[in-house]
């Protein structure tokens, strides 16, 4: 079988339709695992900020997780705050600079375990900030332990026999909880398991940012991201496993959008 030489751009007449990395990443390099979904989510956020022309009007607050790798490569103003506290830090920032796009980057461990009070109170207050939760059902950065979002039966480093609800309780579906609060304006759940879901997730990110710029209230965009390392899986099995396990507890879709009801 002969293959196409893909070491250099085509010599025949063509146009580039996708680049290696988004403009707002300073380098393609990162140390995240093979098959990790988080860099895909990060790329989408970078693309949307660029497309909205908000690179010089945005500040992001990172929690603690593998995504923290992008603290050093994301070309927007960033701070890394205490585990779980990003929505509170975002509140202080937005109140002082209401015209800026303020968003948090958190994982399920950061938001639903450590930071449950912060995200719920910030949503209840209706702060017009956008919180991102990359949900892989594990504390990835520490090697893959259970979080408050891990699903029943999920095997993790500290639930090797699978999460047993009798001992470890049940997962918290934060999206649905936040949507129930009057202060929340936009709650959506996407994923990065295939090109179709990736395109949908990008739309959710864009809509979330647009709702913030319209001062609609609190926004939460949850993105299911593969963690084959944390799931003890070969990388290529990540997407299917994710949609069977996490996907059955965390259904994809727009959970709430008050902005959609506004007249055009």
């Amino acid at each position: 079988m002969n293959y196409v030489d893909t070491t250099y751009p085509p010599v025949r007449e063509s146009r580039q339709v996708a680049s290696f990395k988004p403009a707002l990443l300073q380098t393609e390099e990162h140390h995240l695992c093979p098959g990790c979904g988080e860099p895909v989510a990060i790329r989408l956020i970078c693309e949307v900020i660029q497309e909205l022309g908000l690179a010089q009007d945005t500040i992001s607050i990172f929690g603690h997780g593998c995504y923290g790798a992008f603290m050093s490569t994301l070309d927007v103003e960033t701070t890394l705050c205490l585990h779980g506290r990003a929505p509170a830090v975002a509140t202080g920032m937005k109140r002082m600079r209401p015209d800026k796009l303020i968003w948090t980057m958190q994982g399920d461990g950061d938001m639903v375990s450590e930071g449950l009070a912060e995200v719920l109170h910030t949503a209840a207050r209706g702060e017009s900030v956008t919180c991102f939760m990359l949900n892989n059902g594990v504390f990835g950065d520490t090697g893959g332990q259970m979080t408050a979002a891990s699903v029943v039966g999920q095997r993790t480093k500290n639930t090797l026999e699978g999460r047993d609800p009798g001992y470890h309780g049940f997962p918290i579906t934060i999206g649905e909880m936040v949507a129930a609060l009057p202060g929340s304006a936009y709650v959506a759940r996407g994923s990065v398991h295939n090109a179709g879901s990736i395109a949908q997730a990008k739309k959710m990110i864009r809509r979330g940012f647009e709702r913030q710029m319209a001062n609609a209230g609190f926004g939460l965009v949850e993105i299911l991201t593969m963690c084959p390392t944390g799931w003890f899986l070969p990388t290529k099995d990540g997407p299917e496993y994710m949609m069977e396990s996490l996907g059955s507890v965390y259904p994809l879709g727009i959970i709430k959008d008050v902005g959609a009801e506004q007249p055009a």
Binding site: L24, Q26, L74, V76, E77, M96, A117, H121, R125
Partner: protein, 357 residues
């Protein structure tokens, strides 16, 4: 100079506003609640923001966010509330974000908390302990100035007596040396330039603009605190040039001790007083100089012995050091108890000065 008869909580609120406070977030806890209520009313009236935080942890983290964007911000509680904020206080020390924290304390039992801190890392916290409402007004403004100047946390350690005592005070703005612009603050504008800003306790920096990294960053911070220790000590001392017995006290206790010592001097007792104003940096050399003639040093603090550790560090074994205070609380455990009393202090000093029969 315009004086108003107001209580310490209102005076501190006004002083903070005079210092340019734009953001406060707090959670109610006696006796710090009045300060929150004052700012909940006054801050919005003057173009600022006061958020009634649902938890102390959220309150301090909101104030951090506000400060990171370049505005003067503060939070407050009593020592029991500051317990929850320890991680956040260490965080701003290590990521160099200015922050003022008000401790309207229930007692003098917060000294270790204020000066050692319970957060992680090699950090210090500037701790200012006013003796009365007028000094609280001055030290509140100083706290904002020092916090901004050095990009460090600063605690103003008041108490329930100060919070509730009405005094005639002038809370107008005090002029300090001008400070450089906050070029480190985040406002989004360096995004997409290849030189976008980062605030991080690890000092890692970014791909195009690497930082010093954790080890060097933390060493730099430790060096900064060492410099602050050299230059920002403050204290007050009286009748120490020929004192045979020196009495050391901080905060409201310092005012009581000063009063008692003045009285006793008029009766001929060779007693003097020393009051650290900065609990950190503790004025070690000044205390040593102040106790030069002393044959004993008495430490009056209403706790089981906290500041006495710093007195021992300053004086060593050169002179006997004794505690004449002790834990003193009311039945509710919320207010300073009956040992904060001139007669009690006087009796304990005399007991220490009279030869054993």
């Amino acid at each position: 100079m315009s004086l108003r008869l107001i209580d310490g909580s209102e005076a501190v609120a006004e002083a903070a506003l005079s210092a340019g406070l734009r953001f406060y977030s707090g959670y109610p806890m006696s006796p710090a609640t009045d300060l929150l209520e004052q700012l909940a009313k006054k801050l919005p009236e003057r173009g600022g923001v006061c958020i009634n935080a649902d938890t102390e942890i959220e309150g301090v983290n909101m104030a951090i966010g506000a400060s990171m964007t370049g505005f003067r911000a503060a939070t407050g509680s009593c020592g029991q509330g500051l317990s929850l904020m320890q991680e956040a206080i260490a965080e701003v020390a290590l990521n160099e974000t200015p922050l003022v924290i008000f401790n309207m304390a229930r007692s003098q039992q917060d000294y270790f908390q204020a000066t050692r801190g319970g957060g992680w890392g090699d950090y210090r916290t500037i701790a200012l302990a006013p003796k009365d409402v007028p000094e609280a007004v001055e030290l509140t403004q100083l706290a904002f100035h020092l916090s901004d100047k050095y990009r460090v946390p600063a605690i103003v350690y008041g108490d329930n007596i100060l919070a509730r005592t009405l005094t005639a005070v002038d809370t107008s703005p005090i002029a300090f040396e001008p400070l450089p612009p906050r070029d480190w603050a985040l406002d989004g504008t360096t995004g997409g330039t290849g030189r976008s800003k980062q605030i991080w306790t690890w000092g890692v920096g970014k791909h195009h603009t690497p930082g010093p990294g954790p080890q060097l960053h933390w060493r730099n911070i430790a060096d900064k605190f060492a410099r602050i220790a050299e230059t920002e000590q403050r204290w007050e001392a009286g009748f120490h040039e020929d004192a045979e017995t020196m009495v050391v006290a901080f905060g409201t206790a310092g005012k009581f001790v000063e009063y008692v010592v003045e009285d006793m001097r008029q009766e001929g007792w060779q007693v003097g007083f020393f009051r650290p104003i900065t609990l950190w940096p503790f004025p070690e050399d000044a205390l040593e100089r102040g106790c030069k003639t002393a044959r004993q040093v008495l430490v009056f603090e209403l706790n089981a012995g906290q500041m006495i550790d710093d007195v021992r560090i300053s004086l060593g074994k050169r002179v006997p050091i004794r505690s004449i205070g002790g834990i003193s609380s009311d039945d509710a455990g919320i207010n300073i108890g009956d040992r904060m009393d001139a007669s009690y202090i006087r009796a304990r000093i005399i007991e220490a000065m009279e030869p054993v029969s």
